[in-house]
């Protein structure tokens, strides 16, 4: 089904999407919030700029966006896929509990904040460009991969990466790590993305955005994990 969203209020647009039981393509999306929220199956393709909380509580559906997305994409997402042919705003994958988010460009602040994993529920976010500050803040599980394909001369991650992290992993594709990490996070330098799971996520990102896998699979990565030898003993932020 095709929906022309121009000027539609988000409640009306979401109702139209929910009532349709088939795959949906939305044209002229301008700022409508909560698109695809809680949906379990089918595919939705969005042209334009969807509003905040795209795919919140997503439960298995697949959303593709031809453009940038705003804040809180995939908020508390349980399962499914969000694929963004552009960049994402702040708090992407906030408290994500399952499913995958693939971003072609950059993400803003606090990507993957409070992300967690449980048994087979293993959320993942793969970012083609760079990430803003507080990447993986309070991360408790799941995988965050930053591929560093951005062109402007900025570090691959902003400040305070992994602050309060106590589970999961962050992979940064870079030759030198230009980030001050908290003492409770350790970084290992590895060749290639590492685990089988990470390799398959990188391959899937390449396939979705039509990139040659080789430079992504053979590059140097830094793998960030909580440092079990130096656990939190007090408030983690001094100022």
């Amino acid at each position: 089904m095709k929906i022309y969203a121009n000027g539609m209020h988000y409640a009306a647009l979401n109702a139209a999407v929910r009532q349709s039981k088939e795959d949906t393509e939305i044209f002229g999306c301008v700022g409508q919030r909560y698109l695809g929220a809680g949906l379990e199956d089918r595919k939705i393709v969005i042209h334009g700029t969807p509003g905040n909380a795209l795919g919140a509580y997503l439960n298995g559906a697949e959303l593709t966006v031809d453009g940038n997305v705003q804040e809180a994409t995939g908020d508390t997402m349980n399962g499914g896929v969000i694929e963004v042919h552009g960049s994402a705003g702040d708090a992407t994958g906030y408290a994500m509990r399952g499913g995958k988010i693939f971003i072609e460009g950059d993400v803003g602040y606090r990507c993957g904040i409070h992300m967690k994993a449980y048994l087979s529920h293993r959320p993942a976010i793969v970012i083609g460009g760079r990430a803003g500050s507080f990447l993986g803040e309070y991360q408790a599980g799941g995988t965050l991969i930053v591929l560093g394909g951005h062109t402007e001369h900025k570090p691959i991650v902003g400040n305070f990466c992994g602050t309060g992290m106590h589970g999961g992993e962050i992979l940064l594709r870079c030759d030198a790590l230009d980030a001050a990490l908290p003492a409770q996070v350790k970084a290992e330098r590895i060749q290639g993305p590492g685990s089988e799971e990470a390799v398959s996520l990188v391959k899937e990102w390449c396939a979705r955005f039509g990139k040659d896998e080789t430079p992504y699979l053979t590059a140097t990565y830094y793998r960030l994990t909580p440092n079990a030898e130096n656990p939190y003993r007090q408030m983690y932020t001094p100022n």
């Binding site: 509003g51 705003q70 702040d90 001050a180 001094p238 100022n239």
Partner: protein, 364 residues
């Protein structure tokens, strides 16, 4: 329904535009842009600032005033006559809308300070005018100067911003820069004076957020004669910027290192000379550090600046298309009026984004 029985999931919305070549546009574009972010406000405040809108009176201070009573107007006009030559005075033309109710009497005055009064005061002209604004707002009950710059004007009230824009007939005004705000008041009841933008002289501020340093900032600013009469955090941000720029001579970039100073650990990692400069500014004005979530757009003669708190607890994007540059809480608002953009990015927390007229030194 009573307060507490219903939750309206919102946050304020801000958006601004400048045509760096100085070409003018009506207020219509901003009305359309802010309308996209309708659900970020709750109908308790909206407003606009337009720059370059009074070319025929550009040498006079344009005062916009709310009067709640006739007595307030009489007292204010007596005060204005004592300190200024009133070049022109009239009621601001508005459009009756069912969505905008209980408006006060709204007047505009174009003013020139009385030369004798000004020279006897031993003040600069701008300081003289600023003190007069503060006196009206703190001493005359029921009167409120909400705009006081040259060749610019603030238009605001209680309602959704798109309705406020139509109420003030902003499609009839043309300016090279506009800022706009949709309000969701968190700590104060929405009233006409409390809507954004806040202004002093040609400086205007629109703000999304809630600052936790309000009282510390307010107490410090009151030492310099500013009176915070509105209990609203945006007012104090306006005075801080006025104080740092007009009275201390700081650049806007330096102001950003005072009010949204980086953490000490971040400053320590910077290269010289940035490290020493930022450390100096943070040490000189520790009471003017603004904490808590905020994103603001500052308007001034010839430019607009966007700034977020150092933790980036509110969203902001910057976008460019030809000579036009945009700042907005959400990308969608800009896409509504400019679907294809040359460039779009999100600034970091504490990173000042400044767009100015080319002839004022603005970059392309």
């Amino acid at each position: 329904m009573r307060e507490g029985e219903f939750r309206d999931p919102s946050g304020c919305a801000i958006v601004g535009v400048i045509d760096r070549s100085g070409k003018k546009m009506t207020g219509e574009g901003m009305i359309k842009a802010i309308e996209v972010m309708h659900d970020r406000s709750n109908g308790l405040g909206g407003g606009f600032a337009g720059y370059g809108i009074y070319p025929h009176y550009k040498d006079f201070y344009a005062f916009h005033l709310f009067f709640e009573t006739q007595k307030a107007q009489e007292e204010t006009e007596a005060f204005l006559k004592k300190h200024f030559e009133i070049v022109y005075a009239s009621e601001i033309q508005t459009r009756k809308l069912s969505a905008v109710q209980n408006e006060p009497v709204i007047f505009r005055y174009f003013l020139a300070p009385l030369p004798q009064k000004l020279s006897n005061s031993h003040l600069t002209e701008r300081e003289y005018v600023a003190r007069c604004v503060i006196r009206v707002n703190s001493e005359i009950g029921g009167a409120y100067v909400f705009s006081s710059g040259k060749n610019m004007g603030i238009f605001k009230g209680v309602g959704y911003p798109e309705d406020i824009g139509r109420f003030y007939r902003l499609e009839e005004y043309e300016g090279y820069a506009w800022t706009c705000h949709g309000r969701y008041p968190t700590n104060t009841p929405g009233w006409w004076g409390g809507a954004h933008p806040f202004g002093l002289l040609d400086l205007s501020v629109v703000h999304n957020g809630e600052i936790s340093s309000y009282d510390a900032n307010r107490r410090y600013m009151e030492m310099f004669g500013y009176k915070c009469t509105l209990q609203t955090d945006t007012e104090v941000i306006t005075y801080i910027i006025d104080y740092l720029v007009r009275r201390q001579g700081l650049t806007l970039e330096e102001v950003s290192h005072v009010i949204a100073a980086s953490f000490w650990s971040t400053i320590d990692r910077k290269e010289e000379p940035a490290r020493s400069q930022e450390a100096l500014l943070r040490r000189m004005f520790p009471s003017l550090l603004v904490t808590g979530p905020f994103s603001i757009i500052v308007g001034y003669t010839g430019g607009i600046m966007g700034l977020c708190d150092r933790l980036k607890l509110r969203s902001m994007i910057c976008a460019e298309k030809g000579d036009r540059a945009y700042l907005s809480s959400e990308e969608s608002a800009v896409r509504r009026i400019e679907p294809s953009l040359d460039k779009i990015y999100s600034p970091a927390g504490g990173e000042a984004v400044i767009y100015e007229l080319y002839h004022q030194g603005g970059r392309a």
